[in-house]
């Protein structure tokens, strides 16, 4: 059983008890424990179930690389899935539950899957769920959704009560990793006086070294670390942060750090996580190395762990995994585990070393001297046990697994060698080289990530650079720190003394990718590579047999390395297995791509403070507050919120819209049109410029007059429309659509700056300078006359004219333009007068039952008149000619944007669909976007089509559905009936092709 030892545990405070629960059961740990160490101290080895076979799984590692011990943390609003027990610091009241099991962790129905493992090989999902197609929606998808996913997603209705923040940091040298190498690199860089930031993902400094031992400058490693941290803390140019992970390295020295501030102390004030947005001249990655598992049958049974983790739990937390531990290894380092256990008074029945030593290297000799039995050339045939290790069958590594001996044990400490953590080096393009001697990939310094100046900006240090020996790592870290500081423009401290470390020499490791070497299928299908996603040696070999040669394809086919641990343990073993199966060398097969984040980071940290109201600031017109107070139902239009309609008490939105249309057409309506874009174009060449921007002639417009204009892209497609008013000889005011103001202004500037840069034109976007209010309906003139101050009679202000003046004492510009077909004025007043003017209109207009109306009423009125709307009738593939707008395309102009493109063959194709009106035979409203079908089918066996609906509404004036659409030969087919398909793909709706002007076709209503 796993238990707390009487002594040892350098990170825990035995005087402090911490109570927590796991699956509702109460446990006690110590301050300084991780959730994993506290559970192990309570003999709770089983921590989860695997993804595919629901196999019982215990903890394997002691750090960020842990694939198995994933738990749900908290409940309700603080619920968080997939937290690693090994990196979760224990606190009073912590509540954790295990994942991926039903009905209980100990007894799980899904575990039946493992009985069918033979029938669930690599690519099972791809092979099984392709056919028959109709099964997908109702059978396969629900099944996969039910069985997939480890943790539970938080309740969509709850809101995270914690706060998060972003923090910007600008430094010269960023050192990622606070082990011995990171500390030394920071010391070297810090001594130059440059601004240095050192971040460490765990809560303590020194990395593995305090556990692994060794001496630095004659001191214990722990003392040296304490002194190094103290030396860094007094340097004013150096900042240190623990619990801060280097998450990703990006272009031009941009790095994200993920600081977990209160995860270990939920009652503390302040943000929970902080996302560091770091811009640095140089990065030093001192990210250490991760031990690799060995691939033998039963290597996933709870109690089989990485050798380094077994000694971490003893040294750091005073926890033994078992009373009897068999160590299995291909290198010297695992001997440290055996010696540590022995020193702690635990039994090590044997060390199985696949190597044969002619001369025992120091650690091997030490183990032998300590009385530990070392079996050379030996490995594990299989692990005996189900929910816990009971023993191992020992075999010759060179053979096929014939058992030579069974050794009873309750823990297996395995070591397949170490892999440098190259993730951060690789994120931004750093290349790797294969180190034959150590069987790992390490950074290739000659192919480092390069920055904006084309020069390297990442250096790697210590074990992350492949230096596993303590002194090598220290020397390398000093040199990395020096390279980084010099590249950052600093000067190394003269005569800096590099500390020297002492530790035992180690013999070469022997790569082992399968144990035993000749293991048959029965053993291989229980030899796990990827614990979390249940990928075995046999799966990768199958993928290779089925023709998968690329490591990227194999990864996706087998799901190797695609779990939340992103293959930290499985990557190299899986890759080597694939290489062997393909008969190619490992570097030829290559690695999969390393992508940020290094370990998952919270969505809260990514969002930072951008949540709720400030997730995206909303643009508000000067009259927005009135709309809110008066019950407007809003809809988003670009970044604006515009009233869709103004429902009265108990009124439905539909009824409100119908009332607004009728009131406006029969008496008087009021629209807040302030969101319309307003761009001033000024200068001696303004007319010439607008002749290029619009399809119509604008230079001939007289001051005081307005003209409706169309704007096309150089590709010929219609991109915006609006009314242009000529203010004076040199000045035009161009109205754009609500969504178009910014990009049309940008479009103008693009042409002015890049193409016609010598034309004398100035543009300014004055959209927010004015409140613009449309006064619409038969009583529109009555209202303005009642407000008084400006002659708005038919003669004084004719259709498509504007003039400046005052209305009710407010400076106003009145445009007599109409988007509804009614007598209509748009009144622009300075934004600060917007609310006052609106209030006056409402007061004075009450006698005509003035009705504020929203965007839906506006849409219906324009559709009743057959006016197009950018974004409804256009979608980036429509040209003005499609919409019957030829009258707005100048024939006199030599050139305008889009002219030449509109002469291209596809644009002049007579079969282009053209705009018509559509009236359903049953008066119903056609579905938006519905297609008109035609006889026959196309090459893809889809129904042929001959048109589609672009706008569709219920018209309260006509008391029926009206629609506009683009139809093949439409204008020539007036009166013909065509059929539109409903959403169900079956029901057809008959509609007659008619003129798109449904209401007041003679235009009498506004001609008053």
């Amino acid at each position: 059983m796993s238990t707390r030892l009487a002594t040892s545990g350098r990170l825990i405070d035995r005087s402090k008890q911490v109570a927590f629960t796991f699956n509702g059961k109460r446990f006690t740990g110590h301050a300084g424990d991780t959730l994993a160490s506290a559970l192990l101290a309570n003999d709770q080895m089983l921590m989860g179930r695997s993804f595919k076979y629901h196999r019982p799984r215990g903890v394997v590692a002691s750090g960020a690389e842990e694939p198995n011990a994933l738990v749900n943390l908290g409940e309700g609003v603080t619920h968080e899935p997939n937290a690693r027990a090994t990196t979760t610091e224990l606190f009073e009241g912590l509540k954790a539950t295990s994942q991926n099991h039903w009905p209980s962790l100990e007894f799980d129905v899904g575990a039946i899957n493992q009985k069918f493992a033979r029938f669930l090989p690599a690519g099972f999902y791809y092979k099984m769920f392709i056919h028959p197609r109709p099964f997908w929606k109702h059978i396969y998808e629900p099944f996969i959704r039910h069985s997939a996913g480890l943790g539970k997603a938080p309740d969509a209705e709850t809101r995270d009560p914690d706060t998060y923040e972003h923090f910007y940091a600008h430094v010269d040298v960023l050192v990622v990793g606070g082990g011995v190498a990171g500390l030394q690199a920071a010391l070297t860089a810090g001594q130059s006086g440059l601004k240095v930031l050192l971040i460490e993902q765990t809560a303590f400094w020194g990395g593995r070294t305090p556990v692994d031992g060794g001496e630095i400058d004659g001191k214990s490693a722990e003392d040296w670390i304490t002194e190094a941290v103290a030396a860094l803390e007094v340097m004013p140019n150096v900042t240190l942060r623990t619990r801060c992970m280097g998450s990703g390295v990006y272009d031009h020295g941009y790095v994200l750090g993920y600081e977990r501030l209160t995860d270990h102390a939920p009652e503390a004030d302040g943000p929970r996580h902080r996302l560091w947005r770091i811009r640095t001249k140089q990065v030093v990655t001192a990210t250490g190395a991760i031990e690799r598992p060995l691939s033998f049958s039963g290597n996933d049974i709870p109690g089989v762990m990485l050798a380094s983790a077994v000694r971490d739990y003893v040294v750091d937390y005073g926890v033994s995994i078992g009373d009897r531990t068999v160590v299995v290894t291909n290198n010297d380092d695992a001997y440290r585990t055996a010696l540590t256990l022995k020193k702690a008074g635990l039994s090590v029945p044997a060390i199985l070393d696949v190597r044969v030593h002619v001369h025992a290297p120091p650690l091997v000799a030490e183990a032998k001297a300590a009385g530990i039995r070392v079996l050379e050339g030996m490995g594990i045939a299989k692990v005996v046990g189900g929910q816990r290790v009971k023993g191992v069958a020992v075999c010759s590594q060179a053979g096929e697994g014939a058992m030579v001996e069974e050794i009873a044990c309750d823990c297996v400490a395995m070591s397949g060698g170490w892999s440098p953590v190259v993730h951060l080096w690789s994120h931004c393009g750093g290349k790797l080289l294969w180190d034959e001697e150590h069987a790992f990939f390490r950074p290739d310094a000659s192919r480092a990530p390069t920055g904006a100046d084309g020069l390297p900006f990442v250096t790697t240090a210590g074990t992350a650079n492949g230096h596993l020996h303590l002194n090598d790592a220290l020397q390398d870290a000093h040199s990395a720190g020096k390279i980084a500081l010099e590249r950052a423009g600093g000067k190394a401290e003269a005569g800096a003394v590099v500390p020297q470390a002492q530790g035992p020499d180690e013999a070469a490791m022997t790569p082992v990718w399968l144990m035993p070497q000749g293991a048959g299928y029965e053993l291989k299908m229980k030899a796990w590579l990827d614990y979390q996603n249940d990928v075995k040696v046999s799966d990768v070999q199958l993928a290779a047999r089925e023709g998968y040669e690329s490591v990227e394809h194999t990864k996706r086919y087998t799901t190797l390395g695609m779990a939340t641990d992103q293959g930290k343990l499985s990557n190299i073993n899986g890759l080597a297995t694939l290489s062997n199966a393909l008969g190619e060398a490992i570097p030829q097969v290559g690695t999969t791509t390393f992508r940020p984040p290094y370990t998952p980071i919270s969505m809260g940290a990514i969002a930072g403070e951008a949540r709720g109201e400030i997730f995206q600031p909303i643009r508000k017109t000067p009259i927005h507050a009135w709309h809110e107070k008066n019950g407007a139902a809003f809809e988003p239009v670009g970044h604006w919120r515009r009233p869709y309609c103004f429902p009265k008490d108990g009124e439905s939105k539909h009824d409100a819209v119908m009332r607004e249309v009728k009131n406006t057409r029969e008496s008087l309506g009021l629209l807040d049109a302030s969101t319309l874009g307003k761009i001033i174009v000024k200068g001696p060449d303004a007319g010439r410029f607008l002749d290029m921007m619009y399809t119509n002639m604008m230079s001939t417009l007289k001051p005081g007059k307005c003209r409706y204009g169309l704007m096309c892209s150089e590709n010929g497609f219609l991109m915006d429309d609006g009314v242009v008013a000529r203010i004076d000889e040199d000045t035009f005011l161009c109205h754009t659509t609500t969504g178009g103001a910014e990009h049309i202004h940008g479009h103008m500037e693009d042409w002015l700056q890049c193409e016609w840069w010598d034309w004398k034109v100035y543009t300014a976007n004055v959209t927010e300078e004015y409140a613009q209010i449309a006064v619409v309906g038969p009583h529109a003139r009555d209202l303005l006359e009642a407000l008084g101050g400006m002659d708005v009679s038919k003669d004084a202000l004719a259709f498509m004219e504007w003039k400046d003046g005052e209305l009710a004492g407010i400076p106003a510009r009145a445009y007599r333009i109409s988007f509804s077909g009614e007598l209509s004025y748009e009144i622009a007043v300075p934004a600060s007068f917007g609310q006052a003017f609106w209030d006056l209109c409402m007061q004075v207009g009450a006698q005509w039952n003035i009705t504020p109306y929203g965007t839906e009423c506006l849409h219906i009125m324009r559709a009743e008149k057959g006016f197009i709307m950018i974004g409804d009738e256009t979608d980036g593939t429509v040209i003005p000619q499609d919409l019957g707008l030829n009258w707005a395309i100048s024939k006199k102009k030599e050139d305008f944007l889009g002219k030449r493109a509109q002469e291209r063959s596809h644009m002049t194709d007579p079969t282009r669909w053209k705009l018509v009106g559509l009236l359903t035979e049953d008066k119903s409203v056609l579905p938006d976007g519905a297609y008109a079908i035609k006889d026959g089918r196309n090459a893809n066996n889809q129904r042929n089509t001959q048109g589609r609906v672009t706008s569709t509404y219920h018209s309260p004036m006509l008391e029926r559905g009206i629609a506009m659409g683009l139809v093949l030969d439409g204008p020539e087919r007036m009166g013909e009936i065509i059929h539109f398909m409903k959403d169900d793909g079956e029901t057809l709706v008959a509609a007659k092709i008619v003129s798109p002007v449904f209401y007041d076709p003679e235009g009498e209503k506004q001609n008053v």
Partner: protein, 88 residues
């Protein structure tokens, strides 16, 4: 995230910029006949150089368009200058 030097504002984060097209691609004189092929070349074809590439970018916060030469492989920024100015 890359950083680009706006010739007017200095070094700023990539998210403040928009790509605006290939540099050195003048609009053909449309008052003269242009073949469909030539027009298509103007509209749709770009050199899309691997390596040093000349591009027009706009700094959205100051709204100035400028020319940037950058390496499309290494993301190195080789230089920026105002439009219609030949760099020294």
């Amino acid at each position: 995230m890359q950083q680009f030097p706006c010739p007017f504002c200095g070094l700023r984060d990539e998210r403040e910029f928009h790509f605006a097209g290939e540099a050195g691609k003048p609009r053909p004189d449309t008052t003269q006949p242009i073949s469909d092929a030539d027009w298509a070349k103007y509209l749709f074809y770009c050199a899309n150089a691997k390596g040093a590439s000349h591009e027009v970018w706009v700094h959205t916060t100051c709204q100035e368009y400028f020319v940037m030469t950058r390496d499309t492989v290494t993301m190195a920024v080789l230089g920026t200058h105002a439009l219609h100015e030949v760099p020294a």
